[in-house]
């Protein structure tokens, strides 16, 4: 298939009728068929291109130089030798490797290659060496990319430019060259021009290309891109209320929880130090989302981002659930997906608050212990405002597993112990002005609205710690609701 007919006309004669052969010296079969090529060049209209040595094959005159690989790229050569028959400028037939009968038939030369084996396989074309297709796509201008190009002067430092232009979150970014962005787009089958969502706070339509540029800058590999795209889609949902999450003076930022087979496929870490540094996928996927909000949406600290304190996870916060040895159904299964689905769940959360319990060996004790810590989230005297994300470690889950407590039972018991009399937490009580308004005095209050507590299993095998993360103070329909979306390829 010709990729660019107009451009090809400068490579081969217009209305060319005859044969094109592509070879390289580094291929034993190409060297083997040198007599065949010589005979064809004497009797047929043959354009012979060499990928690695312009003089090869030496016994033939007028070998054409394709060391730049432009013809190989434009003709999508995957194997050498390749023999193409053209009629009036269009390809009609193609053979790869040496197959004597087929070459004889195509060239109508019944004695061709008489002394050669019947068959000899070809080698990979240099144009499909690892990384080469992206380089060639960039080099020869077949780019679907529409972003504005920014030229750097010879002495200009590309890393400093990213800082100067305000593209960075404060850490160095990978310079988004066209070659890198094209490679990134190889991570999805979706069109670079597809609008994936309207990014707050500036409410700007965002293409997949723009997400890919920011994913490059964040340090993502192409296989992470579908996760980043799903995360961008999720924060654009009205119910997530990203504008408000950004504008609040509270700590909240988008936290991404990944479920399903893609976690393993892209090498995420759900074990030791899951909430910490060290894993490329965990660290860069969340960062890519934040860079999209910053660069495409225009959301920057001190601008629409009015966080008083913020939290370190606003550089990027993405974790997978530890599913393979969990006794409880995963977050995404609880939220209506099947275990085989890969999903992201977006939660507007603050920083990590540790929960220690090294002594509980029965579920009742551990549940009460967790409840006591969880009841202090956001504020010990405020109920039903902030959602929360509870991260249960393997050693804590073991206590529930050994006692046969499923997730539903745990939720039920926990909820009972997170329900109190409103009169206990009224504003002004205990000498603390903060608290619930007087109208709640006669009511029973739960710490969380229904569906307001997300529970995820994650962490290393040793350590009787869990963690609680506060949601936004304005959780729920009037603020932010967690959003789960499937990850598309």
């Amino acid at each position: 298939m010709l990729q660019n007919t107009a451009r090809l006309q400068s490579l081969i004669p217009v209305d060319f009728t005859g044969f094109i052969a592509v070879v390289k010296r580094d291929c034993a079969t190409c060297r083997l068929i040198e007599p065949v090529l010589r005979e064809m060049s004497e009797r047929l209209n043959l354009l012979l291109y060499s990928q690695d040595a312009p003089a090869f094959p030496e016994s033939i005159v007028n070998v054409r130089d394709d060391t730049e690989l432009e013809l190989s790229y434009r003709h999508e050569i995957e194997i050498v030798p390749t023999l193409i028959r053209c009629h009036a400028g269009a390809e009609t037939d193609r053979l790869v490797g040496w197959q004597r009968d087929e070459w004889r038939s195509l060239t109508e030369m019944p004695a061709l290659g008489g002394g050669l084996p019947v068959f000899s396989p070809g080698c990979g074309s240099k144009s499909v060496d690892p990384g080469m297709p992206d380089k060639l796509a960039f080099k020869f201008g077949d780019t679907p990319l529409q972003a504005q190009r920014i030229d750097l002067a010879a002495q200009q430092d590309e890393h400093e430019l990213a800082f100067e232009r305000g593209w960075s979150d404060g850490l160095p970014v990978v310079p988004p060259t066209e070659e890198r962005v094209l490679k990134m787009l190889g991570g999805t089958t979706r069109s670079p021009t597809e609008i994936i969502g309207i990014i707050p706070p500036d409410n700007v339509p965002c293409t997949i290309e723009k997400v890919a540029i920011n994913a490059v800058m964040a340090g993502c590999k192409p296989e992470y891109l579908p996760v980043v795209l799903a995360a961008v889609e999720a924060v654009c949902r009205d119910e997530f209320c990203m504008h408000g999450v950004l504008a609040t003076t509270y700590f909240a930022g988008p936290i991404i929880i990944v479920n399903g087979p893609i976690r393993e496929r892209i090498g995420m870490n759900w074990g030791n130090n899951v909430l910490g540094q060290g894993n490329r996928a965990n660290s860069t996927i969340g960062r890519a989302l934040q860079l999209v909000i910053r660069n495409v949406g225009g959301g920057r600290p001190g601008g629409v981002d009015r966080a008083a304190l913020g939290q370190p996870g606003k550089l990027g916060f993405c974790i997978p659930e530890r599913e393979h040895d969990s006794y409880w159904e995963s977050l995404s299964v609880e939220r209506g997906f099947s275990p085989g689905d890969s999903t992201v769940t977006l939660f507007a959360g603050g920083g990590v608050h540790p929960i220690a319990d090294q002594k509980s060996r029965v579920p009742e004790s551990l549940m009460l212990s967790l409840a006591r810590s969880i009841s202090t989230v956001h504020h010990p005297k405020i109920y039903g405002a902030a959602d929360a994300l509870l991260i249960i470690s393997p050693e804590h889950m073991r206590v529930f597993r050994e006692a046969g407590w499923g997730k539903a039972r745990f939720r039920d018991e926990l909820s009972k112990h997170l329900t109190i009399d409103g009169s206990d937490v009224l504003a002004g009580r205990e000498g603390i002005a903060e608290g619930m308004p007087a109208r709640f005095a006669e009511k029973r209050l739960n710490k969380f609205r229904s569906d307001g507590l997300l529970i995820v299993h994650a962490g290393g095998s040793a350590g009787m710690w869990s963690a609680i993360i506060s949601g936004w103070a304005a959780s729920g329909p009037n603020g932010s609701i967690p959003v789960t979306v499937p990850i598309k390829s």
């Binding site: 990319l145 972003a147 504005q148 190009r149 920014i150 030229d151 750097l152 200009q156 590309e158 430019l161 593209w167 310079p175 988004p176 060259t177 066209e178 962005v181 990014i199 500036d202 700007v204 965002c206 723009k210 540029i213 920011n214 800058m217 209320c241 504008h243 408000g244 609040t248 003076t249 860079l291 660069n295 495409v296 949406g297 225009g298 304005a474 009037n478 603020g479 932010s480």
Partner: protein, 90 residues
């Protein structure tokens, strides 16, 4: 080296502020509550002070402080009032 622009490539639109009124005489003032706690306390005080000097006010409320004001609400305020005072609270 050539880089691709990661931003929206939009130039921010800049608009001139309307001239500030010289006086509130014969002007109607919108008092916008964004639904944050205690915003109403602030606006109640303003309403009574404006009323005491003969300035007409009308109260409006955003459904939630977490989202920008609905277009309909903004249009209603523009068509019914000359000025708006918004209580950001906190």
């Amino acid at each position: 080296m050539q880089l691709l622009d990661p931003t929206s490539e939009r130039q921010p639109a800049s608009r001139e502020r309307l001239p500030r009124p010289q006086s509130l005489t014969n002007k109607r003032v919108a008092l916008l509550d964004i639904s944050k706690p205690r915003g109403d306390v602030f606006l109640d005080r303003l309403a009574s002070q404006l009323d005491s000097i003969g300035i007409e006010t009308r109260r409006y409320q955003k459904p939630t402080f977490t989202r920008v004001a609905p277009v309909d609400l903004k249009h209603q305020i523009v068509s019914e009032c000359d000025l708006v005072i918004e209580a950001l609270a906190d």
